[in-house]
Symmetry: C2
Subunit: 200 residues, 2 copies
């Protein structure tokens, strides 16, 4: 039989933590980031304000962790991009899915809130890059390296620049609501990026 | 002799308006957008809060107009991009200047504040697109059409997509502070966009 390692206090802590992160996520969806307060999160989670401040320095930090928990849950053991051998088809699959997520008002709301914080908070931006963006970027680069080996992408292509050109227009259109986030736009971006970085 | 058209009240209004917009711009530079209040703007401009609320519905709207006034001042009669006949050289000149502006902490502060507002305010985003972005986009497209006529850019190139691919990575790197805003990055973006849209 498994030895009981966690004392009651630690299990209670873990339960509170989960309740706080869930409350933060739910409330962003319901009332938006602007109106969200530490008080409201505490009330929804059934904990005291001080419990939240013991673990997080700010509203932005709680929201960040609540989204990080969500992405860890969704991605499970690790992030892998599809590899059917056709880089254009695979990138279209991935970019269409990203565009659809951004176009979904319920899904995008907390990510928009996080982006607003990141834009105005240097430290949060660094944490975002390290914890959320970096693993995702590495997964994408693995797929691009496979395309380079298959001769579908220039061997000397700057993969960071490739990803910037592929994703930044999508992110910008989403943040500024400057156009539709549809399959046609996703496909056009994939075709443009591949044209710029095809083997010469 | 010129007829006196403006009664005193109208001239006083214009003076107040200018004072309010100047105060908003100065205060953003000094204390940042987050701490800026209508009260502080009113105090600095030497007007009552109600004077501000008579003309603008929100802090974001005042800030927006203060930046619009600045860009109208700077651009004078209209916006024209350089046209030396070499599209690559001209775009590098323009993009290097944009990168340098974004890299300047004093210059970029109010624009970052405006972007934060736009991301969370659909109506402000629409006003931004119509009043600030559209004239700039049209000026850029004029230069690109000249490059198409000169055979330096594909005749059927999607110019909106071209501008997205050229500018969005720069804007994103600036907003997320994810890398240096230097000449090398500006040049790489110009070369990439031109590669993707060269004549076939």
């Amino acid at each position: 039989m498994a030895e009981r390692k966690a004392p009651d206090a630690s299990r209670r802590s873990e339960r509170s933590r989960t309740a706080i992160l869930t409350a933060a996520r739910e409330l962003i969806g319901e009332i938006g980031y602007g109106k969200l307060t530490i008080e409201a999160i505490a009330a929804r989670a059934g904990v005291g304000k001080q419990t939240i401040y013991r673990w997080w320095p700010s509203k932005g930090a709680v929201v960040f962790d609540s989204l990080l928990a969500l992405s860890e849950q969704a991605d499970g053991a690790g992030i892998v991009l599809p590899d059917t051998g056709d880089i254009e088809a695979d990138l279209k699959t991935v970019l269409r899915a990203t565009a659809a997520e951004f176009a979904d008002p319920e899904f995008e709301k907390p990510i928009r809130a996080l982006n607003t914080e990141i834009i105005n908070d240097r430290e949060l931006a660094a944490a975002y890059r390290e914890k959320m963006a970096a693993p995702m970027t590495e997964a994408k680069k693995q797929r691009l390296r496979s395309a380079q080996r298959a001769g579908q992408l220039a061997a000397d292509a700057d993969l960071d620049l490739f990803l910037d050109v592929l994703y930044a227009p999508l992110t910008q259109r989403w943040l500024l609501r400057s156009g539709p986030l549809d399959d046609a736009f996703a496909d056009a971006l994939v075709e443009t990026a591949l044209r710029a970085f095809r083997p010469r």
